[in-house]
């Protein structure tokens, strides 16, 4: 029994069956990759998991509890954090503030307000956020406004915002897209380190096979809204169907 159990999930957009009949089980403390052609429904599946979309059919259980029908913030409070395909950050706030906010959310829940303390008084939160930014190599950009970051930095920032919450399940939607190779490698290292140092489950969507094969313990290939195969990376690499539908000749 995995920490995340997706059963028979289906979702239609008008005439398009974006998700057919998805069954997925992610075991605790593993990295599970979801790959598949563009438009296969990978992001849609994540949208269902975080409460952005409500599926037409099926059920989604996280740690034995259903996530369906819950608001996004409630789902996050259950321990699920998500990195989006296009970075969602607080663009008018500074980098440091961007990371502090998830710290508050983690510590105080969905709506405990601290109207009469100053931000600087929250020493432990500031420290935690600074440490996190150090981990993602952004320590020299603490006071920059998030909107003026380059795209790669925005992604790293968003990842920091999710990681600092120490989620039990981290959903990553193409975390290294657009990242320079050096940073991609750093990210892989970072994710590996996090995986080793604490209890965390990750589901990662990625088109960069280098990233997928360095991290994933199991891979699900999604095509046209239904899982094609689910297997270990080694087996996936050699799977003829996957090669044809997804990997193409270069990785053959």
């Amino acid at each position: 029994m995995g920490i995340l159990e997706v059963k028979n999930v289906g979702k239609r957009f008008g005439g398009l069956q974006a998700l057919g009949d998805v069954n997925l089980s992610v075991a605790e403390n593993t990295v599970h990759a979801i790959i598949g052609p563009n438009g296969a429904g990978k992001s849609t599946l994540l949208n269902v998991l975080v409460g952005k979309l409500i599926p037409d059919t099926g059920s989604v259980m996280f740690d034995g509890q259903s996530v369906l029908g819950r608001k996004p913030h409630e789902i996050n409070q259950m321990g699920i954090s998500r990195v989006f395909q296009t970075p969602e950050i607080f663009s008018d706030l500074t980098v440091l503030e961007n990371v502090m906010i998830p710290c508050f959310a983690k510590r105080d829940g969905a709506y405990r307000m601290h109207a009469f303390e100053t931000v600087e008084d929250e020493v432990d939160i500031v420290q935690k956020a600074e440490q996190m930014l150090l981990d993602v190599n952004m320590q020299d950009k603490l006071r920059m406004t998030a909107s003026s970051l380059s795209r790669g930095d925005k992604r790293r920032l968003e990842m920091a915002m999710c990681l600092v919450q120490e989620p039990r399940l981290l959903l990553l939607d193409e975390p290294t897209a657009g990242m320079a190779r050096a940073d991609t490698n750093n990210t892989i290292d970072l994710l590996k380190e996090i995986k080793d140092s604490r209890d965390i489950t990750m589901a990662i969507i990625e088109h960069d096979m280098h990233v997928v094969f360095s991290l994933a313990e199991r891979i699900t290939v999604l095509a046209q809204g239904t899982p094609l195969v689910e297997d270990t990376p080694e087996n996936i690499k050699g799977h003829p169907k996957v090669q044809e539908a997804y990997l193409g000749q270069a990785h053959g």
């Binding site: 975080v50 608001k71 996004p72 913030h73 996050n76 409070q77 954090s81 998500r82 989006f84 969602e88 950050i89 607080f90 663009s91 008018d92 706030l93 503030e97 502090m100 906010i101 998830p102 508050f104 959310a105 983690k106 829940g109 969905a110 709506y111 307000m113 601290h114 109207a115 009469f116 303390e117 100053t118 931000v119 600087e120 008084d121 929250e122 915002m161 919450q165």
Partner: protein
């Protein structure tokens, strides 16, 4: 000090000093000079500076931080005034119970309106607040006349019960509003070098309230709560996927700013015990929006400046009539005098709206951050000039700024 860092403490102290010295600052011209027309140091206007400053500070907590543009905030001002006047009719003309009731009632009213209208965002929210406030105004003006006294406005009368105070003073008039016996309207005057300075109890009461209001808003701006509100403004999606529920935050900001408005309304009634329905009209809501933007939304001092600016215009510019103009330009030869007066005439007195409209356009076009930005530019310019002599190009880019062959 007071939970503020050094910079903010300094800021607060400056505000306190400015507020307490207002009777001097607003009275720069000698009584006998022609420019005395521009003096603003009389009790009513100084009180209004403080009161509308509070109103704008409160509005800014909602709008400046969360970006939710309420177009119905005057409703809370009106409700605050009505509550305070009712307190003075039923209980006592001591201002404290009235103000407390004003804050409480407007807070509850804001909770109700906020709960309904915060279900939507953007322009939809603005129109919801506008509609709710306009409904309140229309009802207050006609159907609710038994409570609000309609068009005339709610006033104290000689028949009010005032169970803790007196119905009428021994000489048969309505008792004045007071703070434990200290009458709001009593003033001391000090004449020095031809300048007349007025120190009014009501003003100082409002000023203390304004300082407290300012201090609280400073704390809110610097608090994690304030940071969350700014986060709501930039990205609600990320907010919710970070595990935060934006609604309670926005609702809290809405209620707080509603209570500020209620306090302002209560103070208005305490200074002058009348509550008119026009206080709730959309134009009044629009006025506080404009004060805030004009001064600089999201800045701490901006809204206060904007409030002062507009109230100054309303009260000073509207009073400049042709007679006053002729007085100023009497030194010119007759023909020229008439000509100058003719030129200025459309912009003052009954044309004060025209000048106000033009200034709105100029300020917002050339100072995108409002009056605060103007202030910042001046201080930057001043600093640059001072630095010129000592250290050269620090922080100036080394690269060519512009070259002739790139057009536009």
């Amino acid at each position: 000090m007071l939970g503020l860092n050094q910079k903010d403490t300094k800021f607060l102290l400056i505000v306190v000093a400015l507020t307490l010295l207002t009777p001097f600052l607003t009275q720069p011209f000698a009584e006998s000079s022609g420019l005395a027309q521009f003096n603003a140091g009389y009790p009513d206007l100084m009180q209004r500076f403080a009161i509308y400053g509070i109103f704008a500070i409160g509005f800014n907590i909602l709008f400046g931080l969360t970006g939710y543009l309420s177009f119905g905030h005057a409703a809370f001002l009106g409700v605050g005034s009505y509550s305070a006047v009712w307190m003075m009719k039923l209980l006592t003309t001591n201002v404290i119970p009235g103000i407390i009731l004003a804050i409480v009632v407007s807070g509850l009213f804001a909770l109700l309106i906020g709960y309904v209208s915060l279900r939507r965002s953007g322009i939809y929210f603005s129109i919801l607040t506008l509609a709710l406030a306009q409904m309140s105004f229309n009802l207050a003006y006609s159907v609710l006349t038994p409570i609000t006294n309609g068009e005339t406005g709610l006033q104290l009368t000689l028949n009010d019960p005032r169970i803790l105070g007196v119905t009428a003073t021994p000489d048969g008039s309505i008792p004045a509003t007071h703070l434990f016996g200290l009458e709001m309207k009593s003033s001391a005057q000090w004449e020095v070098f031809g300048h007349l300075f007025t120190f009014n109890v009501g003003y100082y009461f409002c000023a203390v309230m304004a300082i407290i209001a300012f201090y609280l808003s400073l704390r809110i701006f610097r608090s994690p709560f304030g940071m969350m509100l700014r986060a709501v403004k930039t990205n609600q999606t990320r907010m919710s996927y970070t595990g935060l529920n934006a609604r309670p935050y926005t609702l809290a900001a809405f209620v707080i700013s509603g209570m500020y408005a209620g306090l302002a309304g209560g103070l208005l009634a305490s200074m002058d015990p009348l509550a008119g329905a026009e206080r709730m009209q959309w134009t009044a809501s629009g006025e506080v929006v404009i004060m805030t933007i004009l001064g600089g939304a999201g800045t701490l001092m901006g809204p206060v400046l904007g409030a002062g600016f507009i109230k100054y215009f309303e009260n000073i510019f509207s009073k400049i009539n042709d007679g006053v103009l002729h007085g100023w330009f009497a030194f010119l030869p007759d023909g020229l005098e008439d000509f100058v007066v003719f030129l200025i005439h459309p912009f003052v007195g009954k044309g004060w709206h025209l000048t106000l409209g033009l200034l709105f356009m100029l300020v917002v076009t050339f100072l995108p951050g409002g009056l605060m930005e103007g202030g910042n530019r001046i201080s930057r310019w001043y600093k640059n000039r001072r630095n010129k002599g000592t250290d050269t190009d620090e922080g100036t880019p080394h690269a060519p700024k512009s070259t002739p062959h790139v057009a536009e």
